[in-house]
Symmetry: C2
Subunit: 387 residues, 2 copies
């Protein structure tokens, strides 16, 4: 019976609370719990919620609710805050620290662990993965990504059908996805494309710089052949040699978003056609109506496996998801050292996936869950009477 | 056995093809069909698709696909184009003209009918309603709106939970809905709000001008009480006395969208907190993953009832949906004269709904279809340890 503190950090996902619920359900029978509020801010300031019986029950009610129910957020820790945070954990009798998060979260967790060692305090630490960007190293993929990819693929297909029917008014739509420096989500936009006519007709990912002449060529070809063009860009791309990502800095973190507007302006000025930029926005990490059932189950499982490992004394690792090499999709959970996760940095798409989209889609398909009904081919516009 | 021409016009909805499918299924057994491409542009230029057996089958395959499968669009008709369009219909033996659309579509349809009379050509005309904005007169509501309202309500609730958990980073989110000059969709954003803490904390609709001091008061109150604020604004609102709706004109039509950016800038400068504008965007009229089952069924029914009326010789009307006065929601279809629809103009929200949100939600709830699971109350942040 140890005292376990758990927090959620970074941008939420639609399934981050499932991981929390899975962990709590597993650990609550023989350990006591403290919940850290608002991510590392709560760690720094010692603002915890008591894990009494009522609270434990309320956590389970949030299993399918988006957002991080403990409060998450972004809070770059100073050395003093880490020192103070460790002291506070110890003062409250905490022997185990668990955080659900992405790259930044795992890096901070490793620092907290090092500080505990420095203070000669015994602290078992465990990371539980989450990210919609899928840029976390050491794991096949992370909970949150599958649901986000499902949303991006469906929204792109639907907006492209919508645009196709509005082509005497609007010609080009530039959809912008999340992803920071990794193209996983932007590339997922093409997953449901079954016909050449359907968008996306061009996808830009941060792993490759946009060749503006290639962009123009692709848009022109789509306009000529189909009458409209759907473009998908990742928030982390930049336009040509000179273009830079539109960003502002908040609390030391670059806020991406807006490159679609820049590209739309560029296309409008080059082609003189009605062009609209559209951010796929916060739905990507929060829209509960299109969650992948596989993603939700894995998110819960990551939590409950983490709980088991805590009981077994495992420390200094993150729970990773590894794909079994069978023809039918299945996974196993494996510990990966936190320092390896940190060393891996932001994981971008491998060349093999960038160069062979089919291969990427084969890898991606199981993650988005329940099969999505295929659309029929667009109606041909050939057999027409013209007077 | 008459020759019937049908087209789709204006912005598509996620269920506009269900109306087409319902109409075609009903009429195809004893009439021949021509499909008009790209809305009134196809009428003006006589670009039709032949309603052969293969085409009739393909229409049915599009029943649940968003976008207008015949091509829709915006095309303001000139008198010459109307004259030519009528001549072309007649030349192709068309005796019946049907259009699926909103206010602008019905107005154009009435003009086409008048021109046919002027040319002494017998033309039976019928309008089938669609709009996500719900601003069409003479009908309780129109197909397309229920699905859009369902999406807006769910996206708002989820984005608000997401924001709540990010409040140490982001304080205010300004969500922008469609709706043009009517607030139906923006007001629908609060449908799933069950707790005072949850957003939306302020809703701005075009029927009332925004009092900027009231907006600031509401945001400040939410920030103080809950730590964040979710604001929903309709694309058609303006800010204060001086502010005007951000718009550009394309083909004579004002393109709305962008007021959320203006309001976000205003709040940021007044309150100095991280504020993000987010357009709910094209999903509102195209996202097939959250379609209301009631809306989809009514959309189909509107089409098939229209088909029956064509057989009975009904003309110069639009199919309207009327709500029966029973405790359980049910509707009947009634013809309403096209000239009455035109005279009604854009239907805004009645004062009774603006002043009594509960009454509006009672009216709205059946339209969004299948019940949406309620969320638990947000976790209280009171019983905390602070060192």
């Amino acid at each position: 019976m140890k005292k376990v503190a758990i927090g959620q950090a970074g941008g939420p996902t639609a399934v981050i609370n499932a991981t929390l619920a899975g962990f709590v359900k597993e650990i609550e029978r023989d350990h006591s719990l403290l919940f850290i509020q608002n991510g590392y801010e709560g760690l720094a300031h010692g603002t915890y919620l008591d894990g009494d019986k009522e609270m434990l029950g309320r956590i389970q009610l949030h299993r399918d609710v988006p957002g991080a129910c403990l409060g998450s957020g972004r809070f770059p820790l100073t050395d003093e805050q880490i020192e103070n945070g460790v002291r506070l954990l110890h003062a409250h009798g905490v022997e185990v620290l668990v955080f659900i998060g992405g790259n930044g979260t795992m890096e901070a967790l490793a620092k907290v662990e090092a500080e505990a060692r420095r203070q000669n305090i015994s602290l078992q630490v465990l990371g539980l993965p989450k990210t919609v960007d899928n840029d976390l190293g050491g794991t096949d993929h992370a909970p949150g990504f599958g649901s986000s990819a499902r949303y991006v693929a469906q929204a792109t297909r639907d907006m492209s059908r919508d645009l196709a029917s509005m082509q005497n008014f609007e010609k080009v739509r530039v959809l912008e996805t999340m992803g920071r420096n990794a193209g996983w989500l932007a590339a997922a936009s093409g997953l449901l494309q079954e016909y050449e006519e359907e968008g996306p007709h061009f996808i830009a990912i941060p792993e490759r710089s946009i060749q503006s002449d290639r962009l123009l060529d692709n848009v022109n070809t789509a306009l000529n052949r189909f009458g409209y063009a759907t473009i998908v860009v990742s928030e982390g791309v930049s336009l040509g040699k000179t273009g830079q990502v539109a960003r502002e800095k908040i609390g030391g973190r670059a806020v991406l978003g807006g490159i679609s507007n820049e590209i739309a302006r560029f296309l409008k000025s080059e082609l003189n056609v009605m062009t609209r930029a559209e951010l796929l926005g916060m739905n990507q990490r929060s829209f509960s109506a299109v969650v992948s059932d596989v993603d939700r189950e894995e998110a819960y499982l990551v939590g409950s496996v983490g709980g088991k490992w805590i009981r077994e004394g495992v420390s200094s690792v993150m729970v990773s998801i590894q794909r079994n090499k069978h023809s039918r999709y299945s996974v196993r959970m494996r510990p990966i050292e936190l320092k390896k996760v940190v060393a891996a940095g932001e994981r971008v798409m491998p060349d093999a996936f960038i160069e062979d989209r089919k291969r990427y889609f084969e890898w991606l398909k199981p993650l988005i869950g329940e099969e999505i009904i295929a659309y029929p081919p667009p109606l041909q516009r050939t057999e027409v009477y013209v007077d």
